[in-house]
Structures are given as C-alpha cells and as structure tokens.
C-alpha cells in the first residue's frame, strides 16, 4: 500500500512530534502534562524504533536541563510541556539563552495562572515573548494555527534556533494540540544540519576545548556578550517576521489573532463579509519577532483593529505598539480555558463598525 504523499490524520501533538523526528531531532526529554501528553507518548513509541532517545525525566526542570546538556554537545534536542510546566522550565531556558544554545521548546498552552485548567488558553504570550526566564534575552516564538502548520514550523524553528544559536518555542494551545486534521508529512531530511564548531563534543586533542556556559565573572565581559546577542536579535527582527493576511486589502476592520483564536477570527471575518462588512484578518505567525511591519501596514488602511485572544489581552500590547496610535485597537478575549465563538467575535466587529 503506497503511503508516499498520502495525507494522514494527526492530532496536533502527534504532528509536532513526528515533524521533529523528520527534522532530525532524535533526542526528546519530557514530563507528562495535559493537554500535551500525546506528544511525549508519541515520542515514547517512535524514538526506540529509530534509535533515538526518549527520556521521561523526574521533573520539568530535569528535562529542560537534559535538553541543555544535549544541545551543548551539538545535538538537536527538544522538550515539550504545557503552561505550568513551562514555568518550571523557565530557568533552563534562560540558561540556554545565556549559553547561546539552540533547542526547541513546545508549549501547548492551557488555562492559568497556577494549575489553572486543562482546557486551551493563550495566556502565556507575555511569558513566551517577553520573559521566558530571568535576564536580558529573547527566544524565537512561532504560533501555528493548523496541524499542517505545526508540522511546517517545527523545522523552521529548529533551523533558526541553530542559525541564530538561541532557543525557539512553538506556542500552541490545547485545542491545536488535541484536534485532528489531515496533514502531509515531509520526507525525512537526509541533509546534514549546520556545523556546530562551538559544541562541547570532544576536542580529540585537535583544538582548544569548547566551553558552554552562562556564568561570567566580569561584568564588562557579560555586558559585551549580551550586547552581541542583542545585535543578533536586531538581525532577526529584520529578517524573520512572519504573518499571514486574509482579506485585508480592502478591509475596514482588521482582526489580529494567532493560533486557535485566529481560526475563530477567520470564521468571524467570513460571517462579517456575508453581512457586507469589510473585515480582514492579520495572523501573526512569528510572535517573536512580532510582525511589526505587517501590523503597521494594516493600520495604514484599516479604520479599526480588533485583537482576539484566549487571554485577558496580552498580544494586544504589541499590536498597539506596532500601530503607534494610527488606528484604534480594540480587544476581545475569553480566558480560563474558554474559546471565543465566531458569533461573539462577529458581534464585536459589528459593534466596532457601528462605532459603539
């Protein structure tokens, strides 16, 4: 039975896992948490079959530090969790950023704060894009909105993490992780990943030994290190912004939404169009770097912007910063595990166009 090019039905969590394997990641360190567990379970099934490593650590903190260790040795490694688990991994992520180490961290967000709930959420936007740990640093953050895009962004995240020597995150949510959609899997990559001359993988008496470290005893040296890193961040802001536009050309109201809420926003845009309202959708795909240029452009043409999130309003801050006051930025959100309905978002669009 020919399996080549045949679409398959996958849960978002499974798709993230399989895509990582296809992207050459054969080292997974994790710890179970709903609604992400299928990812780890999938890895547990698949890794032994391909000679890879699946390790369920004793805690999230242990898992992220195993990723740090593997990455320091030049290995493509990843971990995954959901909101409360990501908070625990924050220390390791900061250490990796401070050691210029690439890695993939997946957050299948749920309701918070605290233990919160197990239904989907988007309230970790601030954490992902502003403060995934202590210190002056950023990580790459990608926000897929379909199972296919989850597959596609995994290799983008890995490659850019390697290229810029920094951690990357896929910021998904429980709905995307749990839902099933048809996907086309990429063929397994045979091409080598980029050289990692900095890796602490054994010098065999042929070179000076490499040190991977985030501790600096002299403040001058640490400042220089951080400033160098921020120059790299400037390059990333210039080159790596990603966004999708849907019916924005003539739109008077442009919705800004990512992940699962962008699916709802898209339905609402279609409903608004049916009743004669010129609505459009701008969907940030990279959350860091935030697609400032695309949002600014949207504010040039639209009379109003409406940010839709599964939170009390986090990304809306970045939208406002990008818009620079050129157009009013409205907000509609649900939180605690609730998903906005297309009807409620359509009502918001109507209210805004009627100037209420």
């Amino acid at each position: 039975m020919g399996m080549e090019k045949m679409k398959v039905l996958m849960k978002g969590n499974e798709a993230l896992a399989e895509a990582a394997i296809q992207a050459g990641c054969h080292h997974f360190f994790g710890y179970p948490i709903t609604p992400q567990t299928e990812l780890a379970a999938y890895m547990a099934k698949r890794m032994p079959k391909i000679g890879g490593v699946y390790l369920q650590a004793e805690s999230e903190i242990a898992a992220v530090n195993m990723v740090l260790g593997a990455s320091a040795a030049g290995i493509r490694a990843m971990t995954s969790s959901s909101s409360p688990g990501i908070s625990l991994k924050a220390e390791g992520i900061s250490y990796m950023a401070g050691s210029d180490l690439p890695a993939l961290i997946i957050n299948v967000q749920r309701g918070g704060p605290g233990l919160g709930g197990i239904q989907p959420g988007q309230a970790d936007y601030y954490q992902a894009t502003k403060a995934t740990g202590h210190g002056d640093f950023h990580i790459l953050v990608y926000a897929p909105s379909t199972v296919q895009e989850m597959v596609d962004l995994v290799s983008v995240a890995f490659d850019n993490a390697d290229k810029y020597r920094m951690p990357a995150m896929i910021l998904a949510d429980g709905m995307l992780g749990q839902m099933m959609e048809p996907v086309e899997l990429p063929a397994e990559r045979k091409t080598a990943q980029i050289e990692k001359p900095w890796a602490a993988s054994g010098h065999q008496n042929k070179r000076e030994h490499n040190v991977v470290n985030s501790l600096y005893l002299k403040p001058e040296v640490l400042e220089e290190k951080v400033v160098e890193r921020f120059k790299r961040y400037d390059e990333i802001k210039k080159n790596e912004q990603r966004a999708e536009e849907y019916l924005t050309d003539d739109a008077e109201v442009i919705l800004v939404a990512y992940g699962a809420s962008s699916r709802v926003a898209r339905s609402a845009v279609n409903k608004a169009r049916e009743s004669g309202i010129k609505a459009g959708l701008l969907r940030p795909i990279s959350l860091w770097p935030f697609p400032v240029e695309a949002v600014r452009k949207a504010a040039d043409t639209a009379k109003n912007l409406l940010t839709v999130e599964m939170s009390m309003g986090q990304m809306v801050d970045d939208v406002r910063l990008a818009v620079e006051g050129k157009a009013p930025v409205h907000f509609y959100g649900r939180t605690g595990g609730m998903i906005p309905t297309p009807e409620a978002v359509t009502e918001e669009i109507i209210k805004i166009t009627e100037g209420k």
């Binding site: 045949m6 039905l9 849960k11 709903t34 609604p35 709930g117 048809p182 699916r263 709802v264 595990g337």
Partner: protein, 224 residues
C-alpha cells in the same frame, strides 16, 4: 431473548479514529426507533468526547451516562457511577463509547464479566488515514491489544476511514482494500464503510456504505 433485554454495543478503536462521531451517529439513528442510552467511557482524554454533546443527545431523547468529572477541568479517571444501570433490563439500546487504544478501554474490563453474561457486541473502528494504525497489520495488532486490555472480543469491523473535512468519495473508496485486508487478517466481518454526507456529492453510495454526519466539530466550524 427477553423483549425487555438491553442491546449493548461497545465502540472501540485507535484513539482519533472517529469513535465518538460514529457512536453519536449510531445513537441518533437508534433513538428514532428505540429507547437509547450512550455511555462516555473515555476517561483518558479530556478533549473531544461524547459528554460534550449533552444538548444534542438530550434533544434526541438519548440518555447520556458520563463520568462525573467530564467537561470539568478535573483530569481524573473516574468511572460513571450509573454504569451499572446498563445491566438492568429496560429494553434499551446502549452504546458504549470506549476510550482509545488499549489504554482507553482498560476501564471497561471492570465490567467485562457482566457484559459477557448479559451479551454485547463490540465494533472495532478503523481508519486507514490515522497515523500509527494505517496498515492492516498495525490495525490487527491494535485490536489484539484492545481485546487483551478489555477482556472483550470484537464481532465486526466498521471502516471509518476519513480525512476530516477533506474527506471525499475517493478518500473512502481508496480505503476499501485496507478495510478488507484488515477484516481478513482478523477473521472478522467488515460490517460497513462509513462516508460523511458531505463527501457523497453527486456519486451514488455503494450498498455497504453507511452515510454519517460530521457531529464532532471544531469550535470555529458552523454549528448549523
């Protein structure tokens, strides 16, 4: 058989193969003629489960037996206390929507003796497009695991091969050799091949095709 006896049907299969959607379709169909109840026995996955369709089931007069923690944020594997009521003869068609894989159906083993003495039918749902159960060999092995964990035996296969909203007539047709091969390997009858109503289009469904509705949807899909 006693006219007042219950007819119990267990729906099992790989998680994500479409058990819940099939169970809902069968329940709605059954409710048109007979008293019907549906049991949500999925205590391993808190998303996309029968218990979310309470309103739809209530409208059709179908009794929903679901774990007390269903639709809450409590991720606790607790069996529905009303489960034992399915063994009280009341002339009801009872559909049990089991959890996926061997892990999901293990809980049902607690009543396997009672099911055996009351009598039951277990349908094995397969989907050629579902990752990790795509070959007849994988599908056959999975049923052996499910039967082992549940201490129940399947009596027939339902080919529920689909690709979500992208399903077409050809999608279903291309899955028939897989379904037939799986049935042969397991030495079980292939009872029917499901096809979603929207996928029929202008084609004429074959006699062994069962038209089903897409009831398990995403929150952003039209709810009409």
């Amino acid at each position: 058989m006693d006219g007042n006896a219950n007819k119990i049907t267990v729906i099992c299969g790989h998680y994500g193969c479409g058990k819940t959607n099939l169970a809902l379709n069968l329940a709605l169909e059954s409710a048109r003629e007979k008293k019907t109840a549906i049991v949500d026995m999925d205590i391993v996955n808190p998303y996309f489960r029968t218990s979310e369709y309470g309103a739809l089931l209530a409208d059709a007069g179908i009794r929903l037996i679901s774990p007390v923690t269903a639709n809450t944020t409590l991720d606790t594997p607790v069996l529905p206390p009303e489960l034992n009521s399915i063994f009280i003869p009341s002339g009801t068609n009872i559909l049990i929507d089991a959890g996926g894989d061997d892990a999901g159906i293990t809980a049902l083993a607690t009543v396997s003796d009672k099911l055996a003495s009351t009598g039951y039918e277990m349908l094995y749902v397969i989907n050629r497009y579902r990752i990790l159960s795509q070959t007849p060999e994988e599908a056959a092995e999975l049923l052996r695991e499910i039967e082992g964990a549940s201490r129940l035996k399947a009596c027939g296969i339902v080919n529920n091969s689909h690709l979500g909203v992208e399903t077409t007539f050809d999608t279903v047709e291309a899955s028939l050799p897989f379904a037939e091969e799986t049935a042969k390997l397991l030495n079980l009858p292939l009872l029917c091949n499901t096809i979603p109503d929207f996928a029929v289009g202008a084609r004429t469904p074959k006699s062994d095709m069962k038209i089903v509705k897409r009831l398990v949807k995403f929150p952003w899909e039209d709810c009409s």
